[in-house]
């Protein structure tokens, strides 16, 4: 806790402050005006930072698709001539009913907690970097950690899609004639893919641009005692 005073964060120049931008693919510093990285050959977007438009577009698509993914059934179960659909949440309760608590927890976490957490975190980060001027003291390490967790964990939401695919294959091979895949599986898979793309479209350097301003202020002599 008290180590902060002993080791202040090192003062590092940003690439942008000297008219450069880092390649998002290989890291090479290139002039801000460059349109293609000379090392890895990737096309570089104009400007030193990526905008938030693509983030919001993928995120909103992900949220919209997540609604039918929860309203429509993932699996359709036929019994006594009637067809019952089980939604994502319904499937979780079914598993609890069977006593498979661990599996129910995995599905609940992968299909509900992670997607909703991702929507919230990506929206939070996108709003935060716009309001960074109001929060010069916010620790960017925490925001970066949050971003890295979201980027790492997002793919694990696909578990339920694989469950439906495996069951669908079993059905077609004639072993589970009473169960078919529901439309929610497609909505859910595309929703997860959209939020994966939203996380990738987010430029984490935006998180640190606020810290850059704070650093400049400190270096200009606005030293404040620890309150």
């Amino acid at each position: 806790m008290s180590m902060d005073a002993a080791s202040p964060p090192p003062k590092v120049r940003t690439a942008r402050s000297v008219g450069l931008k880092g390649c998002r693919s290989c890291g090479r510093a290139m002039p801000v005006a460059a349109t293609r990285c000379t090392r890895c050959g990737v096309r570089m977007p104009a400007g030193a930072r990526l905008g938030l438009d693509a983030v919001w577009a993928w995120l909103i698509a992900g949220i919209i698709l997540y609604i039918p993914a929860n309203l429509y059934p993932m699996l359709l179960t036929g019994r006594f001539g009637q067809t019952n659909g089980s939604t994502i949440i319904g499937g979780v309760f079914e598993l609890i009913g069977y006593g498979s608590y661990a599996i129910a927890a995995i599905i609940f976490f992968a299909s509900v907690v992670i997607p909703i957490g991702k929507f919230w975190v990506i929206a939070h980060l996108a709003v935060m970097v716009r309001r960074r001027a109001n929060n010069p003291n916010r620790d960017p390490h925490n925001a970066l950690l949050l971003y890295e967790i979201v980027e790492f964990i997002g793919r694990w939401s696909m578990i339920d899609v694989f469950v439906v695919a495996v069951l669908a294959a079993l059905i077609q091979m004639g072993y589970l004639s009473t169960v078919t895949a529901g439309p929610a599986a497609a909505f859910f898979a595309v929703s997860v893919a959209a939020t994966m793309l939203a996380a990738r479209a987010f430029d984490p350097r935006l998180i640190w641009d606020g810290a850059e301003t704070g650093q400049n202020r400190d270096s200009q002599g606005m030293q404040r005692g620890t309150s």
């Binding site: 510093a29 390490h141 696909m158 695919a165 895949a181 998180i207």
Partner: protein, 207 residues
């Protein structure tokens, strides 16, 4: 030329941290330690686990094991007196009949993505390992291996299979076949490969 230290650059190239834009000199590869950004602490190089030989071995193993896993029995099923082994190809063909897009998407993320990634990695890394100049299109191929990584979902598929087996426990008895265990190995190999693959070092070698 094959030595990592005598790169033809006149100076260590300037790089910008991917996470915070800090302007840094790319450390020489021979240092081998895990480099972190001094500003945001993001990991910049993979560190002591970096090994081109390791990545090449993992890529060869992935191709061989995945090829075998597609044709070996994945599940053995028995319900209502029927007993049958099912390979992933059977499953894909069966699912493709009425769930085409779903079957194609699953085939893409559990077979096409890891297989094509492994081939691209070999294409990029073998010339580097032999001290030759990079293969034509090596940069594009290496970018592909990076971009395809999140879409290679072998480890997630395994969890999905286990969950679905629990779900059908009452309706049919399903046993795990050799191909399932190969997939478990593939997930382990992917884990080692991620640790051994240092993107920044490879980019540096590609020039």
């Amino acid at each position: 030329m094959s030595s990592l230290n005598t790169a033809s650059h006149d100076a260590d190239p300037l790089i910008a941290c991917h996470a915070c834009d800090a302007l840094l000199r790319e450390a020489p590869l021979a240092s081998g330690g895990r480099a972190r950004c001094p500003r945001c602490n993001a990991v910049l190089t993979a560190g002591p686990a970096f090994s081109i030989d390791g990545v090449i071995a993992c890529a060869f193993a992935t191709i061989a094991l995945l090829g075998a896993a597609l044709f070996l029995p994945f599940l053995s099923l028995s319900a209502a007196g029927l007993e049958k082994d099912a390979t992933l190809m059977d499953a894909a063909r069966a699912a493709g009949r009425s769930f085409g897009p779903l079957a194609i998407a699953v085939a893409a993320v559990i077979a096409a993505a890891p297989l094509s990634r492994a081939i691209a990695l070999l294409y990029v890394l073998i010339p580097l390992r032999l001290g030759r100049t990079a293969a034509p299109g090596a940069r594009t191929a290496f970018r592909y291996t990076i971009n395809a990584r999140p879409w290679s979902m072998v480890e997630i598929f395994i969890i999905g299979v286990i969950v679905s087996l629990v779900k059908v426990a009452g309706l049919a008895s399903v046993g795990l076949g050799a191909a399932f265990w190969i997939f478990v190995c593939l997930a382990g190999i992917a884990f080692f490969e991620d640790a051994a693959l240092c993107r920044r070092s490879i980019w540096r070698m590609l020039g």
